[in-house]
């Protein structure tokens, strides 16, 4: 199953990277002569209410979903791990401030953050990147801090301090490599969540703006033209579900390898 998930995911990534070459039509090209068509040999998934090719929109939507789905958690992991390292290693007031901010942000629903940012800055790729990064970073900070705290007293760290190494070197060379495992496990699981959240926010009109395609706003468009073809909704929904399913299965497999104790 894990292998199948990897193959599926690799295929989706390739399609997203080579969207221009793979997509049969321009995803923004409208045609008044061919609106709301059912799937045919010419348009495999039919057309939407503006006559745009649904398959091409799904393919280009993969690009938005994956780009955001990967970049937001990675950015959050970098920022969160840094904050967790600093807090866990140095302790004291830095740790207290970081801990307090982390707690506050964890209690803050992503949806509200999305609404506030969309209302203040307008929606789009960058504001969604900001929202998801702010939402995810505290979760990485917490994990990194806990792991760092445990390592702080480890003999090899104390030896490094005794040897007179700088804090930066100790953090980077001695602690970071030892805490990266749990961070990676969490990362794979949050990529799936980020893709789902991107879809939800775009569906709510707080994310990717039309005419640019994202899986969430394809479903939104499809529902607005409710008596049109149901194919845009079905295709985009399946695209999200399959991607998230594959990511979750890979995430579970990574966790089983790196952390065998929580295996179910």
């Amino acid at each position: 199953m894990t292998l199948a998930s990897l193959v599926v995911l690799a295929a989706i990534v390739l399609i997203a990277v080579f969207a221009e070459q793979v997509a049969p039509y321009n995803p923004l090209a409208q045609s008044i002569l061919s609106v709301n068509q059912l799937p045919s040999a010419k348009h495999w998934l039919g057309t939407d209410q503006l006559g745009r090719d649904v398959l091409s929109r799904i393919i280009h939507g993969a690009r938005t979903s994956l780009l955001l789905g990967i970049s937001a958690p990675v950015l959050a992991a970098v920022i969160g791990t840094f904050l967790g390292l600093v807090g866990g290693y140095f302790g004291g007031w830095a740790d207290r401030i970081i801990g307090r901010i982390t707690d506050l942000l964890l209690a803050f629903p992503v949806l509200l953050l999305g609404i506030i940012v969309a209302a203040a800055l307008s929606s789009g790729f960058w504001s969604m990147l900001m929202v998801l990064t702010i939402a995810f970073a505290p979760r990485f900070a917490r994990i990194a801090r806990a792991s760092t705290l445990a390592l702080r007293q480890a003999p090899f760290v104390e030896a490094a301090i005794a040897a007179g190494l700088g804090h930066g070197v100790i953090l980077y060379r001695h602690i970071l490599p030892n805490i990266i495992g749990p961070v990676v496990v969490v990362l794979t699981l949050w990529i799936a969540t980020a893709i789902r959240l991107e879809a939800t926010l775009s569906f709510l009109g707080l994310g990717t703006r039309p005419p640019f395609a994202s899986w969430g706003n394809i479903i939104r468009d499809g529902l607005n033209a409710m008596f049109g073809s149901p194919w845009p909704i079905i295709a985009a929904g399946l695209a999200i579900s399959i991607t998230v399913l594959a990511l979750n299965m890979i995430g579970d497999a990574v966790r089983d390898v790196l952390d065998p104790e929580t295996r179910t």
Partner: protein, 311 residues
């Protein structure tokens, strides 16, 4: 119990304050002059000044901030820009529908997930367990708004068994309107919570006291339901609470899909119309909602496990 509630409410104050401050800053960060944005380019200087005076926009920022906090604490957000209602009236009209949907979907989620999780744990590694695993994997992957859209297209548009939009009037009609949205959200919750019930119960079933209960000859259902499940429920309650919070954005989407009134659709409509007082009120209502769900989880904790309250 009283002390738990008091401590929790104190804990929630910084979160609520952060939410309020963020909303305030966000509304002031908007490009352009709000008076022009609302009255339009053609408004005269007198009109603009009158509006600024009425909305308190001519005051210094720190005073505006204090007024805003006062309004939020007293839940008095003034009048909506786009409708003749006051903001509190809008909230009062919409809130019951959101509460109905939250309660109904949580009940559906619980009724499906706990028996399913118990069955999967008791018949571990059988066909039943595999099926429940597939159910929860799919439930994790399918977005709630997609499931809602499919239910709408199939059962309301094609088959015509359920209404297409609205919130319904009277008890039966309300339930009829509630059915599809609540099932959509409830199934997604069930996927998450059933897995949690399974793993939590499996862990408890390995404890010594369960073996003791079996050894003294207690019937298996009694062992499961009286001895094991009670202790396995703590993480499940957390899971249910978390699922309410994590389906918050899903419930907003579901309200939109089914054209239901509710705080979520009120908020989204307000964002599209740039109706700032309503956005502020909606965000505050959701923030209070989150705090209350957390509080309720803590209280249920204490009820299930008296040790938590003592600590």
């Amino acid at each position: 119990m009283g002390r738990t509630i008091a401590a929790r409410i104190l804990d929630a104050i910084p979160t609520l304050w952060l939410v309020l401050t963020l909303v305030f800053v966000a509304m002031r960060m908007l490009p352009g002059d709000p008076a022009i944005a609302i009255l339009g380019e053609k408004a005269s200087l007198e009109q603009l000044n009158a509006f600024r005076e009425r909305m308190g926009l001519n005051l210094p920022l720190w005073l505006q901030y204090l007024h805003f906090l006062r309004d939020a604490v007293t839940l008095n957000f003034g009048k909506s820009f786009q409708s003749s209602f006051t903001v509190s009236e809008l909230v009062r009209l919409n809130l019951p529908y959101t509460i109905q949907l939250t309660l109904a979907s949580t009940v559906i989620g619980t009724v499906i997930s706990i028996p399913l999780g118990v069955m999967a744990a008791v018949r571990r590694d059988t066909m039943a367990d595999d099926l429940s695993r597939v159910f929860s994997l799919v439930g994790y992957a399918v977005p709630d708004f997609f499931l809602a859209a499919i239910l709408l297209v199939v059962f309301a548009l094609d088959l015509g068994w359920f209404p297409i939009n609205g919130g319904g009037e009277g008890f039966v009609d309300t339930l009829w309107h509630l059915a599809l949205p609540a099932i959509a959200l409830g199934l997604i919750k069930a996927a998450f919570v059933s897995r949690l019930t399974r793993s939590s119960l499996l862990e408890v079933l390995g404890f010594d006291y369960v073996r003791t209960a079996r050894a003294k000859g207690a019937e298996e259902p009694r062992v499961i339901y009286r001895h094991a499940l009670r202790n396995a429920l703590l993480p499940v309650v957390t899971g249910l609470g978390l699922s309410i919070l994590s389906t918050l954005s899903g419930s907003v989407a579901v309200e939109l899909i089914f054209g239901r009134p509710g705080v979520g659709s009120m908020l989204i409509g307000a964002i599209e119309a740039r109706d700032y007082p309503v956005i502020e009120a909606g965000v505050v209502v959701f923030a209070i909602f989150v705090v209350l769900v957390n509080l309720a989880m803590d209280l249920i904790y204490t009820a299930i496990d008296p040790r938590v309250g003592a600590a």
